[in-house]
């Protein structure tokens, strides 16, 4: 764990502000949020989903949530060549370019991010059909779900800053 807290940085909390004081009351939550982010973005055991791919997917999820500051943070974790798969994945208009695995990953990430209520058992089957195993399905689910939590914490903190 580092001293940085990406969630608080993205929310843009002025030091010495009333908001900073309120957030300090939940320092345990904020530290665990950072630790979980590191576990889903750059785990010791990434399995079949590489750190570059995770960064691309995380940036995509942030963009689907109109969270450009966080999306930019994740984009900085991607390889800096413009045509790398991770960079393509981060663009919400990219749908996989015919690659079955990438297309399945993207379809799942978009569905669970934008309309999780519409998820069905078949959505998991579609992942297994392109060779994504159970462990990677859970790793992917945690990545998607965590970033969807993080963007809401950021949006909420910004609003809180406006009303206190």
């Amino acid at each position: 764990m580092t001293d940085r807290n990406v969630t608080l940085e993205a929310a843009g909390i002025p030091s010495g502000s009333k908001l900073a004081e309120v957030v300090a009351g939940r320092a345990d939550v904020m530290a665990l949020t950072q630790a979980t982010m590191e576990a889903v973005l750059s785990p010791r055991v990434p399995g079949g989903i590489s750190p570059a791919e995770r960064a691309g997917l995380a940036s995509r999820i942030a963009r689907l949530n109109n969270e450009s500051t966080l999306a930019e943070h994740f984009a900085q974790l991607m390889p800096d060549t413009g045509d790398s798969p991770a960079v393509q994945i981060a663009d919400p208009s990219f749908s996989g370019d015919g690659d079955p695995r990438t297309s399945a990953l993207i379809r799942h990430v978009d569905l669970v991010t934008v309309s999780p209520r519409d998820a069905t058992p078949e959505n998991i089957t579609m992942l297994t059909e392109v060779g994504i195993d159970d462990a990677d399905i859970v790793r992917l689910a945690e990545l998607i779900s965590f970033v969807n939590y993080q963007v809401r914490v950021i949006a909420g903190l910004r609003l809180l800053g406006e009303i206190i």
Binding site: L19, V29, V40, V138, E142, S145, V151, R152, L160
Partner: protein
């Protein structure tokens, strides 16, 4: 095979995973360690055994969940549960809504609020404080978030302190996470009849 539960209820369903849970006998030391820190230590559920496929995130996720839902001070426990239910309705996570709706009822000793919320969603007839909480948590749960500073101001006008609003943000956001696991990695099914 049990029937899938498709309507909101406070009768807690069983949960049937779509992926094979980690077998305790073949689990790695890291998986066992991550499973030990569960929201309730009463046995290891299939859900936790599914999440143990990713022990690095589970290890932090469980204490984070407990901190957001049970930390001292700030928003009342019942109101954190209401926030969790609002998110679970948006995401149509029947299982999470049942568990947290029931917990709300137990904490408040009142079934009427949850009956209203399940029947009417964000049009439920509630007092101004509960209405403001339900509205805010519902809008924050949209993708992208549709919460506005006006809805934030409604919380202030309903008497919520900044500490309470922070806990509301955290609990609604947490269920943006929990619902996306619970509702996509498995499904709620009618509880099996006990043979005992």
């Amino acid at each position: 095979m049990s029937d899938v539960v498709t309507n909101f209820t406070t009768t807690i369903p069983d949960w049937r995973p779509h992926v094979t849970p980690v077998d305790l006998e073949s689990a790695t030391p890291e998986q066992l360690e991550a499973m030990k820190v569960t929201p309730s230590n009463a046995g290891v559920s299939e859900y936790v055994r599914v999440l143990a496929h990713d022990p690095e995130s589970l290890q932090h996720r469980s204490p984070l969940f407990n901190a957001i839902m049970f930390n001292h001070g700030g928003l009342s426990r019942a109101e954190r549960e209401l926030s969790a239910v609002a998110a679970s309705i948006v995401n149509r996570c029947i299982y999470c809504a049942a568990v947290h709706g029931k917990r709300y009822n137990m904490l408040t000793k009142d079934d009427q609020v949850m009956d209203q919320v399940f029947a009417e969603g964000d049009r439920a007839e509630l007092d101004s404080r509960r209405r403001a909480i339900l509205n805010f948590a519902t809008q924050l749960s949209m993708c992208p978030s549709a919460a506005t500073s006006g809805q934030g101001q409604d919380l202030v006008n309903a008497g919520l302190t900044p500490d309470e609003i922070l806990d509301l943000i955290l609990s609604a956001s947490l269920f943006g996470w929990a619902n996306r696991l619970m509702h996509t990695l498995g499904e709620p099914v009618e509880p099996e009849q006990s043979n005992e």
